[in-house]
């Protein structure tokens, strides 16, 4: 295929507008908006953008706040807990569903439906279920077991784990679907060869099948991690960042500074820090992906 010729005939104007207009708008807004917010993060903007220059002052201020420290610490707990739990549950479900199960379609539908529902809905429902006076704890008390305690959602030290639970409930179906697709695409010859070698079902999975899945596992980790970094609605609906500020996440800090405290400069600095965290996850993934593609091309 040759590129477009250097001249533009009049009759080609509509197609150029249709191709380039939306494409430039879409690609352009990514670049311009990223630069714009980054710029604001270096300005003294408060309620309205002002285009002065304050250097790294907003970043220093944000990094020094208790909110950001707690939020980032929470992101580490939530990010690792959420990814590990979702992967483990997803893998368990995928391996179990791979056993020629009757009713596989129904079960798959059940494990995946949370993904179709908004985080606002799941967060709200989980906040009811986890509410000690209303949900699981109340139910167990009513059954006569009055010493039972399950009050993580109002416990400052444990509340972040309720976000892990609700998040994993929503995302493990996603991990399951990808792992299952991976298991189903393994060469039958590989399985046959292992069977001839006398591998039992346990060893078959551990030694033969799961090792072939690791590229998918890395992809799932990268996707779930970027998902964790962007989490906002779930926390908003589940705990609102509380009790106190114990379940703050970077995304909530950004919103808080931008629209509740009216400090656009600091909010933007927090947003840029969020983006950098995301890049720290995605850049190695991109490099690995490229390396893998090159390996594949060589073989």
């Amino acid at each position: 295929m040759t590129g477009l010729p250097g001249y533009v005939a009049l009759r080609r104007v509509p197609e150029l507008v249709v191709i380039w207009g939306p494409l430039l708008l879409s690609a352009g807004h990514v670049v311009v908006f990223t630069l714009w917010t980054t710029w604001i993060s270096f300005t003294p903007s408060t309620l309205l953008p002002e285009y002065g220059w304050v250097g790294l002052r907003n970043y220093q201020a944000i990094l020094a706040t208790q909110n950001w420290k707690i939020a980032f610490n929470n992101l580490l707990i939530y990010g690792s807990g959420f990814v590990l739990l979702s992967m483990a549950l997803g893998m368990l479900l995928a391996v179990l569903l791979d056993q020629r199960i009757r009713g596989e379609n129904v079960l798959r539908t059940i494990f995946l439906y949370p993904l179709a529902v908004s985080f606002v809905v799941t967060g709200t429902v989980w906040s009811w279920l986890l509410n000690p006076g209303l949900g699981v704890e109340k139910l167990v008390h009513d059954m006569g077991w009055s010493g039972f305690r399950f009050d993580w959602v109002v416990d400052r030290d444990m509340a972040i784990w309720t976000v892990v639970l609700a998040g994993a409930w929503q995302a493990s179906g996603f991990a399951m679907a990808l792992f299952l697709a991976g298991l189903r695409s393994i060469e039958p010859d590989l399985i046959k060869a292992a069977q001839i070698d006398g591998a039992g079902p346990w060893r078959m999975y551990l030694r033969v099948l799961l090792p072939t899945l690791w590229p998918i596992m890395i992809a799932v980790v990268a996707i779930l991690l970027q998902f964790a970094i962007k989490t906002f609605d779930l926390v908003r609906a589940l705990t609102g960042g509380g009790p106190g500020i114990s379940t703050m996440l970077p995304s909530l800090v950004v919103y808080d500074f931008m629209f509740q405290r009216g400090q656009l400069g600091r909010g933007s600095a927090a947003a840029v820090l969020m983006l950098l965290t995301l890049l720290a996850v995605l850049a190695p993934y991109g490099v690995w992906k490229r390396w893998q593609r090159r390996q594949a091309a060589r073989v």
């Binding site: 197609e15 179990l96 139910l139 998918i216 609906a237 950004v254 629209f259």
Partner: protein, 285 residues
């Protein structure tokens, strides 16, 4: 390794699967049951339980009378807002994404890989990086606090996803088909209409389902760029559970939550096959 006989091992597999399936169903079951329970019933027992008396009126109250913030019109206006945002944004972003994906994969032009790279970066860019620029742009366009503004945002942002989906699908179309059409004198649009579009239904269905689900469920933009009765239903749900009443109306709130979740749940139930296809296609590439 596939032993289909009824051994204790297979019983265990089924047992674990069924227990997990029940756990996964609990939140949905709780909402469905509570949407038909009375306030007294729920507050005397817990959120988890079978209705002792039925309260079929919950849905009517949730739909048109319940007070959210200062307005007492139920979630009906917010549902219409969500529809008015989601339908045009889904259709427009899918159409534009299909044309863009076609241009990038089959029509090729100088710099296309660069443009494509930037467009797909939009999939990863956090919404937080775009909030202030969007506020300023919408203000200058006079679209702040309007549904049209949200449609514009979702179309521009949605194109990242739709272009990615369509482009990844269209690269599998043989270039010879396109070349042949060009030799026959077919231009950009005619080639698209005659050759590419007839091959597109699978990817268009996937894209429409994903866009609809994503836009319907979106919350941050809905709560940032519009206020009051202009907000989509996700934002209304947050204000609804934050509304402090003398007696919390959990039955009515459950009904509201169920109604708000219904459109995407129904699409998932009837289009599950396409939903999963989009999931694996979008994620692995």
């Amino acid at each position: 390794m596939y032993n289909t006989g009824l051994t204790w091992r297979r019983c265990l597999v089924y047992l674990v699967l069924v227990v997990l399936a029940v756990v996964f169903m609990v939140p949905l079951a709780v909402v469905v049951l509570n949407s038909m329970r009375t306030v007294a019933d729920i507050s005397q027992t817990s959120m988890i339980g079978w209705p002792r008396e039925w309260a079929p009126g919950n849905f009517a109250v949730a739909w048109s009378h319940y007070c959210i913030a200062q307005t007492c019109e139920g979630i009906r206006p917010y549902m219409w807002n969500s529809m008015a945002i989601t339908l045009p944004a889904t259709i427009l972003s899918t159409l534009l994404g299909a044309v863009a994906g076609y241009a990038i994969s089959l029509w090729r032009f100088r710099g296309d890989t660069w443009i494509f790279g930037l467009v797909t970066l939009g999939v990863f860019l956090p919404e937080q990086m775009k909030l202030i620029p969007w506020v300023l742009v919408l203000r200058d366009l006079g679209l702040i606090n309007t549904l049209t503004g949200l449609v514009v945002i979702h179309v521009v942002q949605g194109m990242s996803f739709t272009t990615l989906f369509c482009r990844n699908y269209y690269v599998a179309i043989p270039l010879d088909l396109i070349k042949a059409a060009r030799i026959d004198g077919a231009g950009f649009f005619r080639t698209f209409g005659r050759i590419v579009l007839p091959l597109s239904p699978p990817i268009l269905i996937v894209t429409v389902i994903w866009q609809f689900t994503g836009i319907w469920n979106e919350f941050l933009y809905g709560v940032t760029f519009v206020t009051g009765t202009q907000q989509p239903v996700t934002a209304a749900l947050i204000s609804l559970s934050a509304t402090v009443a003398e007696v919390p109306q959990y039955g009515v709130q459950s009904a509201a939550v169920l109604v708000a979740a219904a459109p995407t749940l129904l699409i998932y139930l009837f289009g599950g096959r396409w939903f999963v296809r989009g999931l694996t296609a979008g994620a692995v590439k």
